[in-house]
């Protein structure tokens, strides 16, 4: 028996059907809605016992700060963490997806995940979407082969480095690293340097701000120091308290209580079943 089957292209990926419409709207002066980006300063460095990742906590929607204390250091595996810059939804979705894939891989192999595995899964995904998934990541972790630190660009290229920065505040942070980084830093020196680099981004870049998050990963385990430093505290209550002006006179007070009106119908028919 022969069947004529119409070959449909596989569904999935992005649909570019509305691109022409968007172009036409743009010509007419309609601007596309802005989306939430993590302007960001994210950094990572390798110290003597492992990897330290750092990030600021400001999320922006155009010129507005939409989240003053968001989490940019995402969990990938018990021994691997990833900082994300770019479109917040993209970084969260992509790290979540790869974290899930790594978990399944761990079950099948019975072994701890390797940083290069996470790296390859991420770069393959990003390359497939040709840069439209706007996620710039700093991936760091410690596995059986030692500590690793990588940067991943939205188009899918990667770098392997001893210290790395990404995001709009990357130049400010890199300036700090380039002058002060040396090999074989201790844990405290490393944390201090990462904090300095993030603070440099927080104070000199508009897209970064608020607090500093740090994650220290070593062979023994990981330490997630959420809000390790808060150089921009927000005081919500005025120390003087609030006082309302007392100039309004009361002329008349009239209180009308609301009365309930319930009618009881005697001998009504029951509802039909």
């Amino acid at each position: 028996m022969s069947k004529s089957v119409i070959e449909m292209p596989p569904k999935g990926g992005f649909s570019f059907d509305l691109c022409k419409r968007n172009e036409m709207l743009a010509k007419k002066g309609v601007s596309p809605p802005s989306f939430r980006k993590t302007g960001t300063t994210i950094v990572g460095l390798i110290f003597q016992d492992g990897v330290i990742l750092g990030a600021d906590t400001r999320a922006t929607e155009g010129p507005i700060v939409c989240d003053k204390n968001c989490e940019k250091i995402h969990y990938m595996a018990p021994n691997i963490y990833c900082c994300g810059a770019g479109t917040a939804a993209d970084t969260e979705a992509v790290t979540d997806m790869v974290s899930s894939q790594l978990q399944l891989h761990r079950y099948h192999t019975g072994r701890e995940s390797r940083v290069v595995t996470a790296l390859t899964l991420l770069k393959r995904h990003l390359f497939n979407y040709q840069g439209y998934v706007s996620a710039a990541l700093v991936l760091g972790g410690v596995d059986v082969t030692g500590p690793h630190l990588h940067t991943i660009y939205p188009h899918g290229s990667t770098d392997t480095l001893p210290f790395a920065t990404m995001g709009s505040g990357s130049l400010a942070a890199m300036a700090v690293f380039e002058s002060k980084y040396k090999e074989g830093l201790t844990r405290d020196e490393g944390i201090k340097l990462v904090t300095e680099a993030i603070c440099s981004g927080i104070f000199n870049d508009l897209g970064s701000g608020s607090n500093v998050d740090i994650c220290v990963i070593t062979k023994g385990g990981k330490e997630y120091l959420r809000n390790h430093l808060q150089p921009n505290p927000r005081t919500y209550t005025s120390s003087k308290g609030y006082s309302f002006p007392k100039k309004t006179e009361v002329l008349l007070t009239k209180i009308t209580p609301l009365k309930e009106k319930v009618e009881i119908i005697e001998g009504g028919d029951a509802m039909e079943e």
Partner: protein, 235 residues
């Protein structure tokens, strides 16, 4: 299954209303190695015989009890390769649930989804039913739970159950010994004694496998050394 000579279902009803393929699948399970599970007041234990075809087989490479999520484990009786396929599918389903709802999958949900997969294979074209019965042990917000899933896709919650070769003796033994307020350690001892009943040869940590999950909600397979300790306590 599309354009092939086997696009009809291989599992068809007999005139007496039975699905003969499923009956045969249950026979395959019944000739597999004994496995059993016991639900205690504060945990669940599952155990199985691990009889290898020859002394030359490296027993450390064989693991019959598998972990589906950190708090759910599973053991089988029947065909090992079919079990591998089911474990893979179940793990993926658990992970997909977690991605969608950001909560660990409840034991009943995972059992239901696994049973649905097994039922699919009794009603699809060109495939045969799975030749395994599973014992799923888990600990979630509803406490410790033990489920048995059959090749037909039906599942039941048990306080204690056994499958495989020595099933009738094992079940009778369990019925006599089971108490509702059993602790996890007692359950492990009872499991070992039940396995010992029908065991041919010398029982040791190398030819049985035991998996436990306690109130810490972490499923783990006991090491051969730990199993030997429990065996010594039982003697």
């Amino acid at each position: 299954m599309g354009d092939s000579q086997y696009s009809f279902s291989l599992t068809t009803f007999s005139p007496s209303g039975k699905l003969v393929q499923i009956e045969h699948a249950l026979t395959a399970v019944g000739s597999g190695q004994t496995s059993l599970g016991i639900k205690a007041a504060n945990g669940v234990v599952i155990a199985t015989e691990k009889k290898l075809p020859s002394i030359l087989v490296d027993e450390t490479s064989v693991q019959k009890i598998q972990c589906l999520t950190p708090n759910i484990g599973v053991v089988y009786s029947g065909m090992g390769p079919d079990f591998r396929v089911l474990v893979r599918k179940s793990r993926k389903q658990a992970e997909q649930y977690h991605r969608l709802y950001k909560e660990p999958i409840p034991v009943t949900q995972l059992v239901r989804e696994t049973a649905a997969v097994m039922q699919e294979f009794t009603q699809s074209g060109g495939v045969r039913p799975f030749g395994v019965s599973l014992l799923v042990a888990g600990y979630d917000d509803n406490g410790p739970q033990l489920y048995q899933v059959d090749p037909s896709g039906s599942y039941f919650s048990w306080k204690a159950s056994a499958m495989g070769k020595n099933v009738s003796n094992a079940k009778t033994f369990l019925e006599k010994r089971y108490t509702d307020d059993m602790e996890l350690d007692d359950a492990v001892h009872t499991a070992i004694l039940t396995l010992k009943e029908g065991f041919e040869g010398q029982i040791s940590g190398k030819n049985i496998e035991i998996g436990i999950i306690g109130a810490d909600k972490k499923f783990r397979v006991l090491t051969p050394a730990e199993v030997d300790d429990y065996l010594a306590e039982v003697e």
